[in-house]
Symmetry: D3
Subunit: 250 residues, 6 copies
């Protein structure tokens, strides 16, 4: 099976972390292709950057979809997840979506831990959009920038463990999702010191993408996912324009 | 007061309809500037086209924000509404948001009428994202394309009136929001034949933009709306890049 | 345009504060008529006082509706808001309703600040009745009586700022509605010292009343707002009895 | 035990029906006192009439509370239920509240049947205010006036049975609450022809009032139910004014 | 009237406490029969023990239903409540259900106090299953085992009062339900020292069972409560097997 | 990997269908062990039968857990799912849970199709307990018994397709979960004739069990999932008693 990992952030270190997490989770023999955003934000840290990044997700998806069996969005805001599902017949899975869905099989309520107070409302909104608020224990934000996590991982880890502890003690979390592509590499090393399971969205997303590939379910094609045909979208790449014109109906 | 109308669809007829509706609603003396998408979808008809259009909304907003007092998004999916609010200190108002908020002052529950069955779930999701689901009577979709509304308005009007009637009788709507920029011109002519108030999102949005301008409230700058500073976003226009770098803190 | 401000509390100082806030918000040339409750509570501080006050709101509305274009209820529990809407064809807007609706255009979640712990549940219930709970960050109560706010404003202001700070830091409020007619005069002077926009319900309500007047939407007349005809209600004033008998169908 | 039945409608036939239903449900030896509204609506048929009636409920409650052990509000909109609870230390129970609470012990979801399409939204709102929406199957309205039910009971009964049937078949009701004081006498005769239990709000309220009396729980006196002291309310009867001044703290 | 109290825990002291609470609440002349689980958990302290206990509840109910007029489940997780309702035509009432329903007649929001942090999520889920989450102030857990409450009641009482205080001050509880059969005997002695009404689930359940008996409503027999006929269930007692085979249709 | 399939129904044909569906979904090389209920209901068709079956699920799980890597509950009410998770350290996955979680990766809202009108409320409650109501389009019941599906599959298939069609057209389902172990074999043959993806809970559960095994997440051990220690449960098998005594802490 061939799996495309899309990191729309223009930061190769994030892609590398996503790829490493994916490799650890994927079945042996899975071919992983990781692509990095060429345009847009260095690291998504706001709704506005996310809006720009969605365009790039669609471009990267359109360019590579024909070569792969499934796509994982290696970006924790699940940017352009449903737009991709409208356009493509192959499975597309988001990191945070996957963390919540897998987490739902082992914990009553799931805590979400992220960097930066301004991101907390965005994750609450995302969980709400996924219709999973009933399973959310709470969102806790740690005040370090995603960039710092690559520079001083030791200090950051202590802060992350404190955040996990608050989610468990105060909010009743029975599992914690480490949200933010920059945290992708932390779940495994911190797990032994954490009182609850730590969910790595990349690993969960890769696993669900492989489930979807194996189950071979057709793409949904009713309601909001009915085939897209004859839409004229300009100033996008030829592959993306072709999808809007009806390419998924192949 | 100067008001910018952004229609990210690449269809001048939509911009013209939006501008006409805005003119009818704005205070005399309001200067209206209407801009049309240069890139992206002809008419937004899916989440994927909406994702592309959000980028264009941000570009048009960044380019013109310095010249105006407030912005109205002339696109019924309220594309890039909160991203604009993160980046700009001036009021930004969405059509559907405005229709729901004004409608809430005259009806217990509001029906939403739109074109195309595949759009109904998108409006339900949008109302949910606005936190207004408790005020939603239902979403009804009419199977004509937005393009047809410009070609055969007579036939379309009869269908619209039937849809209004279903929302009132079956779903308990006490007002109906005509969603979709293409419907902007229909509320006024159909009102005499409708049993409930018909909400035109453009008129409502223009009115709320003028309210916000008059009230002179500062932009929210806490939580997810804290100042954006030092974000590096490439392949966007210079004005938009400047906003990401901290331009709103002027 | 002629706008009626109804303060059903029997406290002229509240009416004066409401009128001042209204004057600051209204378009120049707006004629403002402010009336004060003649019967019932001095200041509404419980559901029971609110029940009594609703009767007085209806009386004052019936008496003056014929002379004005719209009504603003200058009472933060939005007393008799929907009963007025059933009886009258002109726009009627509530203070807290308006604060929430305008606040929704600039903040993800809105905090509500009020006087007296026993009032907090009433505001939570009111927000719920408005169907806006999804946009509520929280309700914070300060333990001073409304009466004190007129006597020692300096001390009270410090307490109000602390309450605002708790709503922002602990509850994620991105704007704060100062609820209670007695707070009407505080939003403007405190705004420079507050980290988020402060919403004055009177100003918001006046602005929305002017929007509704300008948009000239018909009153909703379906479902629970269908015309009231032939209802016999005794021991009310002649104008109110006339409305129950079918006066709104004029 | 002495039980006060308050019917704030100025219609003796309603009081008579309420009293008969109460007598059938009360323990032998219960002393029942039924009072009828002297001022206000003949029959409550709108939110506006309900607002007026709340005042009369408080007056009647204040006048008679000292002589009885508990109060049942014989009005299906539970008019002034919580205001009474703020002011009085004895149990006060509402008809619709009671129907929902008793119904919750025998049916997963409860249907509500009422007269007049304009009342359906009011019952939905009431159930929501009671926090019982999760147990609501639906609200069905029959287009006869409450007055007709006293004139042509035979025809009305057939319509009621049809409404019950729709609630069971289409909405999944496992019990049906006959809402509206005018329906008080119908549950018993129709029960043999109905496929589910029919809930008579009066009987349920009387039963719960007797439960509350027997359990001898103190009135709640925290939060919104903290003692009311020193409130000056004018133009109300002396007993009601005394309650506002602190009478419940006796 | 004959009332069966089922305590599926294998702990006679719990049955004794339940019986004492029931006796204090029941009408004089009520015949109370209390039975104790013979198989399964000593005290239910997890979902798994509750699953086992449900079987025993059904056995005890089937064995004794023919001799009684109503059943109260003396187990605070309301174990097998709806299964009993499917099988039996007599009223069956749960302790926590009853505490919430009676509490709803005297408090806006109800706090739940229990033993053991691991039980808190179970009560939250139970309140949700009862559709009463809108009336829940919060769930507070005290870290003593149910067993300790019988050994050192003095120390435990102080902890319980602290928990009640937190629910009132922090969560806005206006009444507190003491959840857990082991707490059944505490409400009465602690009431004088508590700021809000303390709800004893057993007393509330006995009272509601007597209400249901008096109202003589038929059992619901639609939807999920339609008659059970011809079900073959093995390895259960003869009386229970008979109910599955259609015994309730007697 | 070794996977245990537990069918607590005493019907070997159901176990066979579950096993066949599992085999089709499992990775090659997966060892599948399917066990059938020895005690309790022939086919679960009510909450009461489900209560009995939960006991048997726990017995079968306790007996076989030591030999396997994960468990799938081959019963569409997800009987004893969380009790199993409390007791065991290996992954345990429910059919309906899995269908909803996998369905959430391909459809906005999921319809649930089942046999027998009395089961519809049970599935609504189950989806609610899973916290997935926001993703539920609706529940549709077909009036054939589960037993008939094995006897006359041709006729039943037509009815199933009609039910799918109603869920898609009327309720906006974008995927349909075929609920009920008896339907396990229908998804694959009907898929070509269905307009949306058909979810087979067994296949989804097997896939998620394999995901959980591969991700090697520790079991949650906080809150309601904290280790069970020293619980005395009698009249259960030795392996189950050992789990209650602390067996999962191995």
């Amino acid at each position: 099976m061939k799996l495309l990992l899309i990191n729309p952030n223009r930061t190769q270190a994030v892609t590398d972390a996503v790829l490493a997490a994916a490799r650890a989770a994927a079945h042996p023999g899975t071919e992983l292709i990781a692509v990095t955003g060429r345009r847009g934000p260095a690291i998504i840290g706001s709704r506005a950057e996310n809006a720009i990044a969605q365009h790039e997700v669609l471009e990267l998806a359109a360019q590579h979809a024909g070569e792969v069996d499934a796509i994982v969005l290696g970006v924790s805001l699940d940017s352009a997840l449903w737009p991709c599902r409208e356009l493509l017949d192959i499975p597309v899975i988001g990191m945070t979506e996957a963390g919540l869905l897998v987490g739902a099989t082992l914990a009553g309520r799931i805590g979400v831990l992220t960097y930066g107070a301004r991101m907390a409302p965005l994750y609450r909104e995302l969980v709400e959009q996924h219709g999973m608020t009933a399973r959310l224990a709470g969102v806790e934000a740690i005040d370090v920038t995603p960039e710092e996590t690559f520079a001083t991982p030791g200090v950051v880890q202590a802060r992350v463990l404190e955040g996990i502890d608050r989610l468990v003690r105060c909010d009743g979390a029975e599992a914690v999702l480490l949200a933010g592509a920059a945290m992708a590499s932390m779940a495994a090393p911190l797990q032994p010191r954490a009182p609850v399971p730590l969910l790595d969205g990349v690993a969960c997303a890769v696993a669900l993408a492989q489930v979807r590939h194996r189950l071979a379910l057709p793409a949904a094609r009713a309601g909001s996912l009915a085939p897209i045909l004859g839409r004229e979208v300009t100033d996008v790449s030829a592959p993306l324009a072709a999808l809007f014109a009806g390419g998924h109906a192949r």
